[in-house]
């Protein structure tokens, strides 16, 4: 008779599970009460070096949970005040605003907030921007000169650009840009623009990387993205391999919005001091230089130079907008949906 191996397997499985559940504090299981828990909506490859620097500088160990900004924000909202997280580091002011609205953030001390220009932080002091990201138009340089590229996103609805523009309507940065358009120009203008873009055969992609791919390969001639995707692409593949070029829009166009990646301390955290120190560290010179050099974003601490080739932050006519207002995503989403662009 064959040994009842399945029974053995089942018993072993149960035993293993019980053991993992009870012995949850061992290393393999990750969660460690003695560490600062960071939810990072920014990729490990970009953020881990900064965290290593922080651990070295302060001696505080950090346990990081990586995910997408929106997914982690949704998770934080689902977790509520029971969340194990101490700090949230996200790459969209809209998500930060949503967490403020859900009353999940504790206010930050003024000396932390004051490092950064008030355009780049929450009005009520619940989150602060750490790095800036400009909206740009990527264009295929084999098909177009920079002078051919329109100076405003509002020109993209003309017949000339029919079927030639790529967007990522599901992407938080695109939605923040549409929200900015609503805040700046009113809901009617934003709605008309979305409808006109849809009628003009705009091509939809799942994310900015795919938009840039499409511009690079000439599938579309123009793409609305954030500036650093191009700089990262060039860093990975070399400038010769990238056909796409960037245009920073002049004037107070919503297409030149500067959004931020930023951080806030969770109100439910029992390690608030260390969490605040982490946010402070993100605004320090070391971390700010890192963002400038490695992630090709704009450092928000005054006096830290941006990466080479990037027009200075002050030179971009970013529209005057309170980034906290970018949390009103629902109406934006409805408009994008009604225009048939989701």
């Amino acid at each position: 008779m064959r040994p009842p191996f399945l029974t053995t397997a089942v018993v072993a499985a149960a035993a293993a599970l019980v053991l993992t559940a009870c012995g949850g504090d061992d290393e393999a299981d990750g969660v460690d009460e003695s560490k600062l828990v960071l939810y990072s909506g920014r990729a490990e490859s970009l953020v881990q070096p900064v965290i290593d620097q922080f651990e070295e500088a302060t001696g505080t160990e950090v346990s990081v949970r990586y995910g997408s900004t929106s997914q982690l924000a949704a998770q934080l909202i689902e977790e509520g005040e029971r969340s194990p997280a101490d700090v949230f580091f996200g790459q969209d002011a809209g998500a930060l605003g949503a967490l403020t609205k859900a009353e999940l953030f504790a206010p930050l001390p003024t000396e932390v907030l004051d490092v950064v220009d008030e355009r780049f932080r929450a009005e009520d002091g619940t989150w602060v921007g750490a790095s800036g990201r400009a909206r740009v138009i990527a264009y295929n340089s084999a098909a177009l000169d920079e002078s051919d590229v329109p100076d405003s996103v509002f020109d993209l609805t003309s017949p000339e650009w029919n079927g030639r523009v790529g967007i990522a309507p599901g992407n938080a940065s695109f939605q923040a840009f549409v929200t900015a358009m609503r805040v700046l120009e009113g809901d009617d203008v934003a709605r008309q623009w979305l409808d006109a873009m849809a009628d003009n055969g705009v091509e939809r992609f799942d994310n900015n990387v795919l938009v840039l791919d499409a511009v690079d390969e000439g599938v579309v001639d123009l793409g609305l993205i954030n500036h650093y995707y191009w700089y990262e692409r060039v860093a990975e593949q070399g400038e010769d391999a990238v056909t796409a070029e960037l245009k920073f829009l002049p004037g107070d166009d919503p297409g030149s919005l500067i959004n931020v990646a930023g951080a806030g301390v969770l109100a439910g955290s029992d390690r608030g001091d260390e969490a605040t120190r982490f946010v402070e560290f993100l605004l320090g010179e070391q971390a700010q230089s890192y963002f400038a050099d490695e992630t090709k974003e704009y450092p928000l601490r005054p006096g830290i130079p941006a990466t080479e080739g990037l027009p200075p932050l002050e030179s971009i006519d970013s529209p005057a907008i309170d980034l906290s207002d970018l949390d009103s995503l629902e109406e934006t989403l409805r408009m994008i949906e009604e225009a048939g662009l989701t």
């Binding site: 008779m1 064959r2 191996f5 599970l17 949850g24 990729a43 346990s63 998770q75 689902e78």
Partner: protein
């Protein structure tokens, strides 16, 4: 020796034949030793449903009605349905033809082809979608999704159909041939009917996978329910709309599961038992037929395996930024294998009581239990994960973001595959042995341990292997529920593609495919080796099934 183990996702003769071996015990009450754990399994499987109901009613029934009562909801539903229909139909064509070619013909190298044909199961569908869109940026969203999903899913049909073709009674075909039917007529009138229940079971898994898959439509930009659910979550941070659409998905799944049950029911009348286990006389392919068959196999294998492998190799070779971090790769592989193993074990353990009940006691209560175990499979991993976040953080804080809760999520997601395997293999084991053991005074629990499970063991283990490989590829639930700091191959792959570092992502994708290929290889290979072993128990088995 048990000579004829069932396949993981097998259609079982017991349900297919009019008088099933379980029939004798149809009126007996199922023992508590099975019912209680089965109830636990079903309760776990319907947790996400409870969450969806709670969330979708967040803002009251009026808001729920308004969300559902839109043109867009109908459009998304229709598109999800047409995608599912197209992928299922194509997977049936590909799966059945490949199964037939590799089991019943004189195709050159068919043993090797049988293994190769199953291997696409190892390719995660989101990886396939990524490489296709990277290679062909102008790929049509609908046709592209149909293509990619078919290439990833057809093995779900291939495996059970091939097993059935091995096992089916050759006598029927011989009779048909002796009555003057030609080869193709026999194939169309007899063979296809014999494989129908197996094909239906495989088609069900394909349909459920397609319906709940998020990665492929998201990457290829096809507007379906899952994509809308995901986009709503990440742009509005509001659970009402996605929960409402999740309920629509569940409703569609119920229709599909019900339809599959119906198609099995009708097929039943066409069968008169499995008959004797003899080898089939292989159909001799002419030279041109062989060339055409090989062309077809090469085309499928090239598209399903060649394209992803070549693309990954290209990205590995092209990237200059990708310094390969062997330590990270190794630890990701180790956590992938360990959570997948735990996932497979727990899923199989929960599936055993449900599967045994489903095989032996066809009461309406049992049928309900079995259907309940399918609930999680219909939902995108993200929804299942969020529901476990919701319940975990409130009622199971000690295991929240720890391995046990993650493993539980895998069980919710993949229970159906394991339940199917248990049900199929148990119903092929003769119940007379269990009855004998009972009459000799063994308790129902001991009968389960000493008789039923050892007999069904190999088939159940194959089911566990299928779950193991599916868990390795799982992404959304792993992202939300893994212990903080733990990374698997899938999460590393995702993190790198998210920032556009395809070159850095490629080694993780390649290793994932390689690791997943091992259990897939066993699944494909096992059915080759089982046909030749026909021991005494199998004759008893056959005799029992035939009566």
């Amino acid at each position: 020796m048990v000579a004829l183990p069932a396949d993981p996702i097998d259609a079982d003769p017991a349900r297919a034949s009019g008088e099933s071996p379980g029939g004798a015990r149809r009126h007996k009450r199922p023992p508590a030793v099975l019912v209680v754990p089965a109830l636990v399994a079903a309760a776990i499987a319907v947790l996400p449903l409870a969450y969806l109901v709670v969330r979708s009613l967040d803002r009251g029934p009026v808001e729920l009605f308004e969300i559902l009562w839109r043109d867009r909801t109908l459009r998304l539903t229709m598109r999800s349905l047409s995608l599912t229909a197209a992928v299922t139909a194509l997977s049936l064509v590909v799966g059945v033809t490949l199964a037939w070619l590799t089991t019943r013909t004189t195709l050159p190298g068919r043993t090797g082809w049988a293994v190769v044909a199953a291997l696409p199961l190892a390719v995660p569908s989101y990886v396939a979608a990524y490489v296709w869109i990277a290679a062909f940026p102008r790929l049509d969203p609908f046709l592209g999704s149909v293509l990619v999903l078919t290439l990833c899913c057809y093995p779900y049909v291939l495996l059970p159909v091939a097993a059935m073709l091995h096992r089916a009674d050759p006598a029927l075909e011989e009779v048909a041939r002796s009555l003057g039917r030609g080869q193709w007529q026999v194939f169309a009138t007899v063979t296809l009917r014999q494989v129908r229940p197996a094909a239906a079971a495989g088609a069900l898994l394909v349909a459920l996978y397609t319906m709940s898959d998020f990665g492929v439509p998201a990457i290829l930009r096809l507007d379906v329910l899952t994509r809308d659910i995901f986009i709503s979550y990440r742009s509005s941070f509001d659970g009402t709309r996605p929960a409402a659409l999740g309920l629509v998905l569940v409703a569609l799944t119920l229709v599909i599961v019900w339809g599959e049950g119906r198609s099995r029911g009708r097929a039943a009348q066409a069968r008169i038992g499995s008959g004797a286990a003899r080898r089939h006389q292989p159909i001799v392919l002419s030279r041109w037929a062989s060339v055409a068959a090989l062309g077809w196999l090469c085309a499928v294998a090239g598209l399903a395996l060649g394209v992803p492998i070549v693309s990954l190799a290209y990205w590995i070779a092209r990237g200059s930024s990708a310094g390969l971090d062997l330590g990270a790769l190794g630890s990701a592989a180790a956590s992938t294998v360990s959570v997948a193993a735990l996932g497979a074990l727990l899923t199989t353990a929960l599936a055993v009581p449900v599967g045994v009940l489903a095989a032996r006691y066809r009461t309406s209560g049992v049928r309900l239990l079995e259907q309940a175990s399918y609930a999680g499979h219909a939902l995108p991993g993200l929804v299942v994960a969020l529901s476990l976040v919701f319940f975990g953080v409130r009622y199971a804080q000690p295991i929240y973001q720890r391995t046990p809760l993650l493993v539980l999520a895998y069980a919710v997601l993949f229970l159906p595959a394991a339940v199917g395997a248990v049900r199929a293999s148990v119903s092929q084991a003769p119940p007379v042995l269990e009855e004998m053991a009972r009459s000799l005074g063994r308790s129902p629990g001991r009968v389960l341990r000493d008789v039923t499970l050892p007999l069904a063991g190999p088939g159940v283990a194959a089911g566990a292997a299928l779950v193991f490989l599916t868990v390795m590829k799982e992404l959304p639930a792993t992202l939300l529920l893994r212990p903080t700091g733990m990374e698997t191959l899938a999460t590393r792959l995702w993190a790198n593609t998210e920032v556009g570092s395809y070159a850095a992502a490629a080694p993780y994708g390649a290793l994932l495919i390689l690791l997943a290929a091992l259990p897939t290889f066993l699944l494909g290979y096992r059915r080759r080796s089982t046909t030749l072993r026909t021991g005494p128990v199998s004759r008893l088995d056959r005799a029992e099934v035939a009566t």
